[in-house]
Symmetry: C2
Subunit: 343 residues, 2 copies
């Protein structure tokens, strides 16, 4: 059956998340042992859907650690052979396969130049394991559909754990985005919320029917929700061939919004947190000018990080339903492979 | 005449660049006086086309300074009120107008938390001036067309100057990307190369004819050329309403390439530097699978930074020609304004 793998792997997410949350206090202790002191900054290194998790981590890390965070540009290592002093930095590398060559080689280089390196992967025996100070596994079981689902939400959950450890080290506790309560507690509702979303495919199905024939899509979010926007756009692109692009609402206003006036549809990732007013403002502006927007249901009452992870799942549903309606097989999109060996 | 402002402002670029290169040694001295020591890292802060210049600066700064560089997430300051310790950091804020509220407020906040702040703007009397340690002006004269052109290439040139100062401070000289010669010298050919490109609108015109009716476009680059890809995509989007997205070739391979197999055209920014093989590989892959790619002429023999700035000008030409053929006015795209006041 077309999409059977992706559907099965999506359905495993509540269990994967519950396992990771149960492990969170122990993971946080392991993270604490490798953190640089003092911390100069945090850098995330990844590609594809792992890079969307990295965006989520980047916001959480800066909020929690109180030092600037950012994203690595792997070509600086692999193409420019940049000589960078990484002392004082925490480098967090994400790769589902643990085998993306440019991720592994950049880790090795940064570590030998002084970085403390945490790897996050679903494959504990992968090459990534050899070039990190600490490996955290998403422990999601084999993932065989090309579009990553359970490994991605697993990465998001682990990044909340890492952020908790960064906040504790900085003596500032957990930011509201991941809940102020004791480690793990504020995200405790996450597996249940994801199960609720998975049991409710109707809204994504209905939106997919409405948008069945589109060939371009903007997914807009802001703050932590920006990561869900990027991930939803990637899932839609890879499963359907639609040109889908995730964008910050602020970036959208600085020019690209012309493409929306030109007819591109916009999915708004809202209801997640402090940037909700930006999403509401964008909706109002676009609606007044004939732009076509939509949203998917949110799950109020959760910590923001949990809202965003649930929004990622809603995005998976949209990608799945669009692919099904358009007659493409989300499990194995034409020309794509599960492991992408960029250098 | 439709597009008259944009055309006139594009034509001023050789003069603007020549002025900035003449000023480069003095600017580099002023930069040297505000650099933190030791340097923890460099962060760039911008939106829109200034943010594309920031990507260019981000690569150059890490290469030159030998410490990690990255891009700010303004919502962390303006929406999350993150409490961040910026000591040891150089923050470089770019805004043509100097009036983007979130850029100004993030500068003020980071500076009071210990950052050294350099502002790059075309408006020396703007609010940005009040919240920086050093203001560098693109000195490009009034820019009235909505799509920024001469102020953007001016920002790129100033960022090469800043990178030169970072390299000198680090005792490592100038990276090959901006030329190993004495300050300014390696970019000396830039104004002439831009003038040559401007005198040769044929290739962009021909490509615009071929792609006149597209509604989606990927612009792919890598390394420094990634910044030109982002900027070309933005120019095309804002002048035409095409959904155009700039992407690293490596990111493209991790899923979004499905949209190219789905029919999106790809403009390759190549011939600029160490990542050329990645562009060649992408072209070969896509060609073998029926993907439609194109390139615009490059200017061999220049330092990479100059190649990339010239590629930005080629992208402006493509946007201009596409808009002209499609009957939109690039000077004043519907619903867009020159200053975008995101908070």
């Amino acid at each position: 059956v077309t999409g059977a793998l992706m559907a099965a792997e999506m359905a495993e997410q509540p269990d994967v998340l519950a396992r990771l949350l149960a492990r969170a206090p122990a993971d946080a202790q392991r993270v604490a042992r490798v953190l640089p002191s003092p911390l100069a900054g945090t850098v995330f290194l990844a590609r594809g859907s792992s890079d969307n998790a990295a965006v989520f981590g980047r916001y959480l890390a800066e909020l929690s650690a109180g030092r600037p965070a950012g994203l690595a540009a792997p070509s600086l290592c692999t193409r420019y052979h940049a000589d960078v002093d990484w002392r004082g930095y925490l480098l967090i590398a994400l790769s589902q396969s643990g085998a993306t060559p440019e991720v592994v080689s950049t880790c090795a280089s940064a570590r030998s130049a002084g970085a403390a390196v945490i790897g996050i992967t679903n494959e504990p025996d992968s090459p990534l394991a050899a070039v990190v100070d600490l490996l955290l596994t998403t422990d999601a079981g084999p993932e065989r559909a090309v579009p990553a689902t359970k490994t991605v939400t697993g990465q998001f959950a682990l990044l909340a754990t890492v952020a908790g450890a960064l906040g504790a080290r900085a003596g500032r506790g957990r930011p509201p985005a991941i809940g102020d309560a004791a480690a793990g507690a504020a995200l405790a509702a996450l597996p249940g919320a994801v199960a609720t979303a998975l049991a409710d495919p109707g809204p994504a199905r209905e939106l997919a029917r409405r948008w069945r024939d589109i060939d371009r899509l903007v997914v807009a979010g802001r703050g932590l929700g920006y990561a869900a926007a990027l991930e939803t756009a990637l899932k839609v692109a890879e499963t359907t061939g639609i040109l889908a692009t995730g964008m910050s609402t602020a970036d959208l206003h600085h020019g690209p919004i012309a493409a929306v006036y030109g007819g591109a549809r916009v999915l708004l990732i809202d209801g997640t947190g402090p940037a909700d007013a930006d999403l509401a403002g964008l909706r109002e502006l676009l609606t007044s000018r004939g732009g076509q927007t939509a949203t998917l249901p949110v799950h109020p009452g959760l910590a923001e990080a949990a809202q965003v992870i649930t929004a990622v799942v809603r995005g998976q549903q949209l990608a799945f339903e669009l692919a099904s309606l358009r007659g493409t097989d989300p499990d194995a999109p034409a020309h794509l492979t599960k492991v992408t060996a960029t250098t």
